[in-house]
Amino acid sequence: MASKKPLAAIRGFAMSDLSRQYIGPTWQLAVAAIHRAIADAGLKKSDIDGLLINKSPVATLMDLPMDLLDYAGLKDLTLCGVVEAEGSSGVQMVQQAALAVQAGMAKAVVCVFSDAPIVPGVSTQQAFGMPLPLMGKLGSEAPTGLFGPVAAYALAARRYMHKNKLTEDHLGAVAVACRQWALKNPLAMMKKPLTMEDHHNSPYVVDPFHLFDCSFPVNGAVAVVVTSAASAADGPQPAVYVHGMGQGHRGVTNRRGFENEIEIGARLAGEGAYAMAGVGPKDIDCAQVYDAFTYCILLQLEQYGFVAPGGAGEFVLAGQTAPGGSFPVNTGGGQLSGYYLQGGTPLSEGVMQTRGTAGERQVKHDLVLTAAYGGRMMYHACMITSPHASL
């Protein structure tokens, strides 16, 4: 590996309480996570001079407003804004904070994701039931009845499965591996063992997706404090050094010759991050990726270069991403079996693994890839972190 200095580091990290019940408004969960993350960093509120906010695409600015800084009691910030890049924002916030710290615009930036999709009287199906704009400006989703992320992703998964001759066993293997990790994670919501048979017997939501192909929404918040590498080295927690960052936004082309379901911006995001860190996919010890649906793990394994194109189904079926496998993926259970907090899910597990504080589920963590995406895998952001200041 080349000798590289980190761009910045995560000095503080915390989460609010997580629940399948309504436990308070989005801003309140955000404030709880912010205050805990500042304490975790060994800092005072007055040390914080930056705030980056990531609200859910299905929430409004009323839910998580700019004046969150007042609710959190932060003053005299030199950086404050909302990062609006859908599900990729969880990682994009850290990237933007790292750039701001490098440029000297801020010294300690709190980045927060918060969401409370579960409110009395509204099912999560209703909360996430909007049509996704797959067809660009046309809007033909609604009249055909293609509503919700489940349908949009199922349509992509079918094409991917057809192309690579995959069956529901390959999707089921992803769900089973994630559940195995979740059983080792005290934060995970799904605590019952899951078999391939359980997966296949769960009802279809949108064929080819069964219930257990879909992630598990919760109410909760995740916050990190991004500082310089030197500052993080002085903190009370193991520093999470950021060595590489990348983004990839490929655009959607709805015509022959372009397979939006198989070639995604993750490839570009990964190439950027690997080049910046001076490493390659073979050097990465584990990956924490956005897994709203089982298919998403398979495709990202290929696009981030961990498995050859078309090979991810067999790789996961062979148990390689599960506990004891050669390449651990979503070691907290991911969004499928852990908790769905959009980009906050891979971010949280990426931090815990890099710190080495993941307890029973801790894996080798010299280099960790954390990746998040938004839309139907349209907007990608990733980072490579390490407990080592130099690689």
Partner: protein, 139 residues
């Protein structure tokens, strides 16, 4: 972007200059997509410019209505009351023989018999309270 409204009881995109010709043509039984006169690329409707050559001179043009199933799903839950009686219903991504892809329901075939690559032909059916909509049927 577009907003969703309800026409004749059916969920529809709010029409604008980018998508109106495509939906208006359904009443005349035509599949209207876009075409670039500069590089001869057929484009999926809703294009502001030609994504191949960048030309802003894209034109509306009638497609043959022939195509094949590129991918499909079967909705086992409904997210809108208009579709409640149809569950389980299919939604397919159709690749027209000219190249552009369109989302549509395929009629006249059991959901279990849908396959990627099967040939389909445009057909028009009234939905809701009489709104003509583009569908496809086995060719």
């Amino acid at each position: 972007m577009y907003d969703i409204t309800r026409i004749q009881g059916w969920p529809m995109p709010v029409l604008n200059e980018l998508n109106r010709p495509h939906f208006d043509a359904m009443a005349e039984g035509k599949v209207l997509v876009q075409h670039c006169p500069d590089c001869a690329t057929w484009l999926a409707p809703g294009a502001f410019l030609c994504e191949n050559c960048g030309s802003t001179g894209v034109q509306w043009r009638q497609a043959s209505g022939r195509g094949e199933i590129y991918s499909y799903v079967v909705m086992h839950r409904t997210f809108d009351p208009a579709f409640e009686a149809m569950v389980p219903y299919n939604v397919c991504l159709i690749e027209l023989e000219e190249g552009p892809r369109l989302l549509a329901n395929v009629v006249g075939v059991a959901n279990a018999d849908l396959t990627i690559g099967s040939p389909v032909q445009a057909t028009f059916e009234s939905v809701g309270e009489g709104l003509p909509l583009l569908k496809f049927k086995p060719a």
